[in-house]
Symmetry: D2
Subunit: 98 residues, 4 copies
Amino acid sequence: MTVLVDVSIVPIGVGVSLSRYVAACERVLQEAGLHPQLHAYGTNVEGEWDQVFAAVRRCHEVLHEMGAPRVSTNMRVGTRTDREQTLQDKIDSVRAKL
Amino acid sequence: MTVLVDVSIVPIGVGVSLSRYVAACERVLQEAGLHPQLHAYGTNVEGEWDQVFAAVRRCHEVLHEMGAPRVSTNMRVGTRTDREQTLQDKIDSVRAKL
Amino acid sequence: MTVLVDVSIVPIGVGVSLSRYVAACERVLQEAGLHPQLHAYGTNVEGEWDQVFAAVRRCHEVLHEMGAPRVSTNMRVGTRTDREQTLQDKIDSVRAKL
Amino acid sequence: MTVLVDVSIVPIGVGVSLSRYVAACERVLQEAGLHPQLHAYGTNVEGEWDQVFAAVRRCHEVLHEMGAPRVSTNMRVGTRTDREQTLQDKIDSVRAKL
């Protein structure tokens, strides 16, 4: 099952500068072949269900290894059976109506 | 890795009454042994990472089987390495400060 | 416009123990008359749109006053025009189908 | 208080094609001067707290006027007092560590 996901990861207990942790997760998502599209409050990815959630799990593990005692992630997860749709399709579809 | 998760699942394209879909997912989470705690805008679960995300995947599959062409889920996902903490511990910890 | 909201507030840069900050926000929501229902990964509230978002703003202000340099909140926000529905109605509606 | 927000709006009860509703909200956010940055699973905005949440309220009202009986929105909301930060600053900060 293909899934489109938006991931926003927050390490807790490592102070106020989070960007190097977010960048570490971004590299995990890239290496997993999920084509991450970074925005200012998260990252869009697309892939097979198990592949995506294994990569997000790896993000949690990496952030813990970097010293974060707690990691809290917010995810939006979308699946559909009526037709195939990529991340770019979703953006194009809205832009066509603007 | 143990994970505490809050799941809010929304089937799209099946009209305005969503409760029987939410109930179907609730049963999936119960059968997976995740001790779901239903609230008005989602469900808290706790378990092993792979067990939890396999169950949420099953929720998406079941809702598609029930006729929902699209399913969109919002999840909050927490892990920690400093100590063990259950869902009830989190609630007790806040209540003790009220 | 009446709104049902689930609020999950995370202060960043204050270490790993967040419960006294969550409790402070809980008190703000109570004092605003929003009938907060605490769960393990957030709090359900209901009220008029402007009343609810003024209270969440006050939560951010209070947490900053308590010393949090950053505050990140995740919210689910629901409105409907087809009928009135309380937080308890939503829970009852799902439970009736279990 | 300046706020950075990511908004993901879902009309419920209007079928499976949501893009014209998302586009309508996008126009509301633009007209409110919030510089919306559309991505595949939401939109980033920045502005003053009351200005942002008045605009999101207007999105709910517009979608109801377009015929959606229910509207469910997920928002990530960030404030900070240690320094000023724009949406672009957040992206640049992560990219510098990639």
